[in-house]
Amino acid sequence: MTSVAAPPAGREAGGKFEIRGRAEDLLVVLSGRWCLGRNLPSRGALEEGLGAATRRIAFDASGLEAWDSGLLAFLTGVLKTCAARGIGVDQAGLPEGVRRLLAMSFAVPEQKLAGRGEERGGFFVRVGKASLELIRGAPAMLGFLGEITLSFVRLFGGRARFRMSDLWLEVEQVGPRALPIVSVISFLVGLILAYLGADQLKQVGAQIFIADLVAIGMVREVGALMTGIIIAGRTGAAFAAQLGTMQVNEEIDAFRTLGISPIDFLVLPRLLALMLMVPLLTLYSGFVGMAAGLLVSTTIFDISLFEYYNETLRALELKHFWVGLSKGSVYGAMVAFAGCLRGMQCGRSAEAVGEAATSAVVTGILLITIAASVMTIVYYQLDI
């Protein structure tokens, strides 16, 4: 006869069991309060009491004072162990409610599902898996690029189906509504450029060239780059979240079933809006940066307003504006591509929407940086 009570601990006294009978035919006597918040014996203690010769167990619950899921979880485990060892179980001695709930818990057989809880593997395994995923993702990216190209072909052929009101809404969202953040960042970057230039140029007494540095730097490179990064964080993430949520709600499937291309209806207006507005924001960013340079030069470094203005006019050529605008257009397209791609590839859960937004920003900034490097080298080689 084995008697097992719960180990005494901080909790209130709980349930216990006792095993009676001969080796092949055992009676498990349950007593006490088998409730979750109380001390309960482990299932292992009962399993140890089952010998190799045990063929059948029965229960006596006459001493049971109270029970809840604590008893049910215990008995579920015992029943599974008995089934695995071929031991018959007579539940007649259990309370009717316990038998009813146990029957319900075993009514649907447990699913044996392969591939669940597989190990993540070591560092190299994970790097390998990530690389393979990247390679497998490339055709999808190219496919999306192809769909966008076809959509543009339909646009120029007058066959693209989207609402102009959507385009203007997107234009408003990505353009005028981005002005405050573009203004603040551009002003501060212009200010930083001016201070950086002043520190170096004062060593050769050429502080007037702060105007050249700020004007060319902001108009040609930094204005476009900063605007691109701001738009990637602000608009690219928003595009991915909007399209991702539509994916979760099956709105994109609804477009497809109606024979309407979601690329035309959803992606094209967003792409056009960014390609139209980012160059303008780049231009605006350049002027705000130059205004910051002007303010610093005239108030801190004793350069007159007239001198700064003239030097800026002398430094800036039309080609610098074209370079800045072309970069702005490309960055805008990159951000729209990354945001829409990640949104359309989004899974069907709230978590997937978050991942899509994060991925859109990361992809957008990566594409902008690659494009900036390539274009800078190409323009240098072409002497533009």
């Binding site: 901080g10 909790r11 979750l36 918040g37 309960l40 482990s42 299932r43 809840d68 899921s69 604590g70 049910l72 979880a73 215990f74 579920t76 485990g77 009717e96 409610g97 316990v98 009813r100 709930l101 319900m104 818990s105 075993f106 009514a107 649907v108 057989p109 447990e110 699913q111 044996k112 599902l113 669940r116 809880g117 899974g347 069907r348 859960s349 709230a350 978590e351 997937a352």
Partner: protein, 250 residues
């Protein structure tokens, strides 16, 4: 009507969004061990009433008492303590998408009990098996169908063996057999564990199968009609309620 003590007592409850009154003068008692059904058509305020019962939306007027304790008048900490005795199943399951099913069910147990992890795992497996999801412990909600999410939501609601289960639309979106199984489970929980169950539903088969007492929320007058046992209401109830229960046939 039983003469037992009221487990939940709602008196003169008014729910409103700004000036828009959704329901006013809602009063009812739920006896311990009842399956109480709140029924009504779309937009009648069923879910708003549920939000007032579970502490998500303060009613504009009236009281909600659990075992005599005024839910909205007590201190916030006391209300949090009272909430732990409620198990809530939301309409779509409301599972946390970043957690597996096992983690979803285990979270309340890990937060509010001092059970060891092995015991929590046993309880989680049992609760999932009870709703027919044995073996799905490591699945994420996004990998499940709508009905499975709903059942997993019920498993989570039952995690702490609550005194009161409040269930929003248990059978909508489920196939008839699964809906029947869920109804059986609700009755088994009531009979076996003595839980009091409040069901918000407009599913006629389910209302008639499990309800022992009920009210009907009228979307036109923004008031409630006490309806008693739904099966009785179907035969002898208020004409508006019979109209609803017979799908416009009476």
């Amino acid at each position: 009507m039983n003469a037992g003590p009221a487990h939940i007592e709602v008196r003169d409850l008014t729910m409103a969004y700004g000036d828009h009154v959704v329901q006013s003068g809602v009063s009812f008692s739920v006896k311990a061990g009842d399956v109480f059904v709140i029924m009504g058509g779309n937009g009648c305020g069923k879910t708003t009433l549920m939000r007032a019962l579970i502490g998500l939306q303060r009613p504009s007027a009236g009281t909600v008492r659990y075992e005599g304790e005024d839910f909205w008048a007590v201190a916030r900490e006391d209300r949090e303590r009272m909430k732990r005795r409620l198990g809530i199943m939301f309409q779509g399951g409301a599972l946390w998408s970043s957690l597996t099913l096992a983690e979803n069910v285990a979270l309340p147990l890990a937060e509010y009990t001092d059970l060891p992890p092995a015991r929590i795992a046993e309880v989680v497996s049992f609760k999932l098996a009870l709703v027919g999801l044995a073996g799905f412990e490591e699945f994420y909600p996004s990998e499940l169908s709508g009905g499975m999410k709903k059942r997993a939501g019920l498993a989570r609601a039952m995690a702490l063996d609550p005194d009161t289960l409040i269930i929003d639309e248990p059978s909508s979106g489920l196939d008839p057999l699964t809906a029947r199984r869920l109804d059986d489970l609700i009755l088994a929980l009531r009979d076996s564990l003595g839980a009091t169950i409040v069901v918000i539903s407009h599913d006629l088969a389910s209302i008639l199968a499990i309800g022992s007492d009920s009210i009907f929320l009228d979307a036109d007058t923004h008031t409630m009609i006490p309806t008693g046992n739904p099966r009785e209401a179907l035969l002898h109830g208020d004409p508006k309620v019979r109209h609803f229960l017979t799908r416009g046939g009476a």
